[in-house]
């Protein structure tokens, strides 16, 4: 079946503008993750959704970052008043969830450039 998809693939925005990044997980996957991949920083965990449980937002770097997951499927990551340091590749991943260590399947990412 189809893998994790993300849109847009590239986004260039001016400093101070808001952006929305979208993630469509694999059908049937209850767990969804957002990561940020910056040069020299590796993969930084941002937020995690599991079913209808309260999300784990412990990785969000500031209150300018927020995310929603509607209907247990599609997720949107919103960055308000973007700053240049927000420039990075934002990756979404999904997994089966539940007990045990489940493989995470990654999307192609959205490359965000803040000018």
């Amino acid at each position: 079946g189809a893998g994790v998809s993300q849109s847009p693939s590239n986004k260039v925005t001016e400093k101070g503008k808001d952006v929305e990044l979208r993630c469509d997980p694999i059908s049937g996957h209850t767990a969804l993750y957002w990561y940020r991949q910056s040069l020299g920083q590796g993969l930084e965990f941002l937020i995690y959704f599991q079913g209808n449980s309260a999300p784990d937002k412990s990785g969000l770097p500031s209150d300018r970052f927020s995310a929603e997951r509607t209907g247990g499927s599609v997720s949107t990551l919103t960055i308000q008043r973007t700053q240049q340091e927000d420039s990075a590749v934002y990756l979404c991943a999904s997994s089966l969830g539940g007990a045990g260590s489940n493989e995470q399947y990654f999307g192609p990412g959205t490359r965000l450039t803040v000018t």
Partner: protein
């Protein structure tokens, strides 16, 4: 708190030579470790996990709890092994969910 350390940002190895990508971790619980790989212009994907004890594309990794390491090894490097490699540790968060903590990655280049 859990941490994953990959001390080498860049590693160059000649084709046919052995490869070892280092990974060290710190975690108070029982660790579950993974190696993920990202080939050029491809998505990040799982390479192997320690509980499987399998060899994938000739790579193996042994969990050494005494040294808190999970180094990735391959006896004879191939050009197609050139990629970015991430070591990851699974842990249970304060919210009760499983999350992965990734290292900063090692870019492996195989020299023909």
């Amino acid at each position: 708190a859990q941490r994953v350390t990959q001390p080498e940002k860049l590693l160059s190895v000649f084709k046919g030579a052995p490869v070892e990508l280092k990974c060290n971790y710190s975690y108070s619980g029982s660790p579950e470790l993974f190696w993920y790989v990202q080939y050029s212009r491809q998505r990040l994907q799982l390479l192997l996990r320690h509980i499987s004890r399998e060899s994938i594309k000739g790579f193996t990794a042994d969990l050494n709890k005494g040294e808190t390491s999970f180094h990735l090894k391959k006896p004879f490097a191939q050009e197609e092994d050139s990629a970015m490699y991430y070591c990851a540790l699974a842990s249970i968060s304060n919210f009760g969910n499983e999350k992965l903590t990734f290292g900063t990655g090692t870019r492996l280049t195989i020299i023909p």
